[in-house]
Symmetry: D2
Subunit: 409 residues, 4 copies
Amino acid sequence: MDSPEGELIGRLVDAREFQRLRRIRQLGLAHFAYQAAEHSRFAHSLGAFHLATRTLAKLGAKYAIADADSTAIRVAALLHDIGHGPFSHVIEPILGFHHEDFTIQAVLSDETEVGNILRTYSAELPAMVADIIRGTFRPMALAQLVSSQLDVDRMDYLLRDSLMTGVKYGIFDLEWIIKSLEINDEDDQLYVSAPGVYAVEDYLQARYYMFRQVYFHRTLRSAEAILQSLLRRALMLHREARPVWNAVDTAFDKVLTGEKLSLPEHLSLDDVDVLFHIKRWQSSSDPILSDLAQRFVNRRLFKAYDLDMPEDERADFVERVREIADEAGFDPDFYIIEDKGGDVAHNFYVKDRVTPKNLIYVEDGFSRPQIREISEVSAAVRGLQTGYRIHRICFPAELKQRVAELYHS
Amino acid sequence: MDSPEGELIGRLVDAREFQRLRRIRQLGLAHFAYQAAEHSRFAHSLGAFHLATRTLAKLGAKYAIADADSTAIRVAALLHDIGHGPFSHVIEPILGFHHEDFTIQAVLSDETEVGNILRTYSAELPAMVADIIRGTFRPMALAQLVSSQLDVDRMDYLLRDSLMTGVKYGIFDLEWIIKSLEINDEDDQLYVSAPGVYAVEDYLQARYYMFRQVYFHRTLRSAEAILQSLLRRALMLHREARPVWNAVDTAFDKVLTGEKLSLPEHLSLDDVDVLFHIKRWQSSSDPILSDLAQRFVNRRLFKAYDLDMPEDERADFVERVREIADEAGFDPDFYIIEDKGGDVAHNFYVKDRVTPKNLIYVEDGFSRPQIREISEVSAAVRGLQTGYRIHRICFPAELKQRVAELYHS
Amino acid sequence: MDSPEGELIGRLVDAREFQRLRRIRQLGLAHFAYQAAEHSRFAHSLGAFHLATRTLAKLGAKYAIADADSTAIRVAALLHDIGHGPFSHVIEPILGFHHEDFTIQAVLSDETEVGNILRTYSAELPAMVADIIRGTFRPMALAQLVSSQLDVDRMDYLLRDSLMTGVKYGIFDLEWIIKSLEINDEDDQLYVSAPGVYAVEDYLQARYYMFRQVYFHRTLRSAEAILQSLLRRALMLHREARPVWNAVDTAFDKVLTGEKLSLPEHLSLDDVDVLFHIKRWQSSSDPILSDLAQRFVNRRLFKAYDLDMPEDERADFVERVREIADEAGFDPDFYIIEDKGGDVAHNFYVKDRVTPKNLIYVEDGFSRPQIREISEVSAAVRGLQTGYRIHRICFPAELKQRVAELYHS
Amino acid sequence: MDSPEGELIGRLVDAREFQRLRRIRQLGLAHFAYQAAEHSRFAHSLGAFHLATRTLAKLGAKYAIADADSTAIRVAALLHDIGHGPFSHVIEPILGFHHEDFTIQAVLSDETEVGNILRTYSAELPAMVADIIRGTFRPMALAQLVSSQLDVDRMDYLLRDSLMTGVKYGIFDLEWIIKSLEINDEDDQLYVSAPGVYAVEDYLQARYYMFRQVYFHRTLRSAEAILQSLLRRALMLHREARPVWNAVDTAFDKVLTGEKLSLPEHLSLDDVDVLFHIKRWQSSSDPILSDLAQRFVNRRLFKAYDLDMPEDERADFVERVREIADEAGFDPDFYIIEDKGGDVAHNFYVKDRVTPKNLIYVEDGFSRPQIREISEVSAAVRGLQTGYRIHRICFPAELKQRVAELYHS
């Protein structure tokens, strides 16, 4: 850590924007389902950085990699999540932004500590890191280490989340994959040599099951539904100029008023801001906001049922559940939530939805080896192509009996 | 979990006071030293409960244990930390209370969900649980499972903290200890049978090293020093009626004004309240508060030096460091902190400081076995009796060079 | 272990036939590929017994299970491998027997310690255990714990072999499967409830990859090819009355002469007998036997190539490799081995090759659950149905260059 | 592995003398006590080599290490156990040799594959490796990596044996020790820097407990007692020209006749030879040999009692047990074994018994650090200095009741 590059990494870790990641949980609300999954994006980012360092060392022993490129890749792995806000998956759709944009801005900005540290190190570094995150960096094979369907981000989070949740499905043979990584110089493309193919199959299955078992977990999604509802309610109250507690002159205040956040404001937000406001809202004069806040704080979550009925019956079923809620005095706009999960291309490896640069290539055949896209080679991966969609309805536990009767009728 | 006892446990876990433990980190600021040590008291409490269940099952196979006693022990293990506030080790000395008192109050109260749940289950249960935590319960041998030098609390947290920090010293052979637990009916005392003696030695060593390596870690203690300083500063500002941000009508507001908290107020506090206020204080008009808050949030911690000089030179050394601080414009009352750690009786197993009921007894000898206190039997445990005290001085990194010169001169 | 059943188990473990399993490696020659996979059938048998005990405890908490049935199931799990000989997969085809027959005989016999121990415990027990192993026991649902596509044998060996080889693919979520096991009383059939379906999918994938990566490993199969060749050679020499070292009056002597072994003779054989003879054969006057024995002892294994050419070219290719061997002075009958692995029905879960009683049934659907065979429910399992066959040619490393030229031409 | 040094290592691993280590169990008979401890010296030797490589990499980043020295250290770590015979701890005292001599001979010889491989690589290499094993190599600091109280041999076997036995005591923080290794250039001595001191304390405790709990385990020592007795009996029969089965013209034949083995003969022996002969001896015409062999094969081990009585009563007690044996028809010379374990200097770290070059040095003090021997610094290590001696008597289980009466009287 005494080399200039080592010092650079040390300074980036100490930067205020990176330290903020300690206050943003990696899995948002997953700890409501898996009690010990309380880890932060800080630990994950260090893990991704560590894997970038290891994969570069493996590739560097065989292929010529420029020092500046290697530095940029390692930095990009470290900083790839720096633009994330608290509870991103819930908040981004409400506020309409994408954390990757903030990551890129943070890297390029002269208002951020990380931006200044990078620029001081080398004038080109900020743009290189931004290109890696954008996916426009060349050599592409290196950028794929940080941003592709088989990148250090996914490899770290699957193993980490698997460990922290105790769900064994996420375990795959990381060592074997690293050992098998190669660069196809002709097409400037990463690929996995033949002995690593099973390990990649297993990795894709690990990813598939982690989505089904953890990231789409009923309890987690139900907690996110309440969080989303109560934020929508608070925004509505604010918009309608009805009283809603907020800490004035803070970034979160602007979130509530719907103003666009500046980069430093965005980079000051963390889980603490959201949770403190929700704690305060428990005593709101608005009964819906106060009720939802109390449910959230005390983990009185919604029930969630799979809409595994024929598709044409769903809308009708949802409508009738809304009526049940209404009759029982629950405003269906805030108490009945449809949860349609499964942005397939993002979550699973589905060949047809992925841009060519992100596809996973492997070496196939023993006597006359070729480099081919993995689903062409592996029946097991083809078996995962159909993906997995959830479509659920979430509602207060108080309605359980009436909804269950409707459901099983 | 369908038995009445199972339902009781389920309700207690769902109670608001227990859910609050999700928002209090088990190790306070240890994650500043060991990045992944971000786990909460919630997970630890479930772990202690699990160990209580297992040890009772082991003992119950051989000794007669009344159902009501067994239930009380399991409940006490589950709830033993329910009175903890955020960052207890730092805040309790400032505010002058002890979390065990709040645990006992919470169990006995009719203002808490847990109190009501217990009372509904059995009129005697609240008092029994309180007695276990107080150490006055009989049979004593059972209470020792929850509150003694070899209790499920310590056994869970050593293994859990060891896992989460990655520090291997905390590992001991839990299974062997459980297998070796016996009850000495004559003296109403737990003891460990001969085959488990090494495991107990190893457990005591694990505890010793975890204190040295984790709980007394320089970085952790330095972060606590800053936290303590900034809270003292905020209290002072408040006392002197100078402006300091606070969320009015909250329990934390009362903390700042020095008012005594009611039980429900105490039980509403968590890490979020403290952290949110500190985030706000970063922009305080008081330069000391704002500086300390920024250091804390962005992990610009104090340096810490061991005062391993002859005892009579210490006071003089500290005084001279305070002068260096003063000259450099740092108010020594808030920037120079002496850290004297090591409440030996609490942290280590030291025979002479422990009440007889809490001593660890083991079976000794092969041909004519006797039950004896472990340090009489084990040279290794006697070797740990001297304990370990830290005495450090913490100061801003800006002073490092000048203090170092003084230190090494 | 003080109950009569506990004593029974203790005696069976101490029986000479069970202790023999310490001298038979679980994975035969796998340690040539995975150096640490040196574990015995003894450890595996205890593991399977442990899982039988745990699954019975889980089922017994909900379903009525007769004590005698439970005992028989546990005993069958413990003894299921007792008839195995050394290097079974290689030796059984040569000598023409199946270890399950010996297991059943050992259980029923009055010449074995285990047989006598069982009979002393209960007159019915030997026949019950034999029925479980034969697959004719009723209730079938219980027998399936020991002998089906999802039995404690497979669950133990996948996890154990995965641990010992370091191959992560074999890891699946055992706890979740155990928690999800249920009995369909109507059809007397085990099934897995809905929350366990992913765990079963993962288990089947684990099995699939362990076969591909471990049990069919090139090095392991190549070592087996040499072992098979040298045993065939020794048998031939014996048949032709040419000198070949053997320890007279031992069971292995009879193996060499092709005589049928009595049960006690079979149950006296272990890895030691085979290895000692091969060590001696290193100095045989027959150059082929001595050469093969030296290769085996010193791990000078054959090379193995996948015959991944069009099927109609294979026979021709093999013929030409035999000619190459012949020209180089290697008798092709002993130095060129075709390895066609993959008895699909045994190794993988393929619906169409499994008898109905061994199929894996799971609960499917949330609103209107049904019990269905798993490949009907799971696309991932259907993806594994095509299985995996190996077809390789093994030859001495000395021929590598010439065979490689032929192969890549 | 494509560098000349990599090729050298590959050839050494493939050498016949190294492959033989696959057939010698690391822990001899420990699997009779810890069923899964079936691992070989082969795996351990690779582990020690791996640690040598890692520690050299750590030191090489800071200190100048000649390539030839580094190669010699790695080779010495790989080959350090190559002279071990089967069941060394039992057989060496009977036959009167020390395995280290054979290791040195094997390295220097031109009759061995390893000797020739080393000589071909470099004319100096064999002598350098031999010097390292003898302890006369310079720089001494490097040789200490392979042969000292804190060497890669011990570090590997403690962790490996701990893993394989399931005994948690053997776990220590390897990573921290490696990270803390430094070279004191002045005294040509390895030492451990201040942050690693606790890790070394923990390592020494791990060693202490592994001896008490595993290497001196009652069952293991009792099995060794039988093995020793039956070998003595076989030697006696041979000496007296009474019939005893042996495979003529083998190295083990010479062991029985008491002839001195040549180096290649010694290096052909392994567990298989010993076990095969014992299996044969089960049907010996000598009733003592046949009985002891059967006990060994079927794990009918001796009972063992600690002679924890006053020292002056021991001889008398042993004499009376011998009389009990005699009366019951057991020849006391072969059925009553005194087991005095605990060659303290070898097993534990005891400052006064260790040559200065093997002592463990650590950095002590924060303000004015010094390099000191660890027991001067650590009370915990001083606590282990008294060591631990076993003194037991082993006898047939048939005598248990009578000996127990005597023992407890």
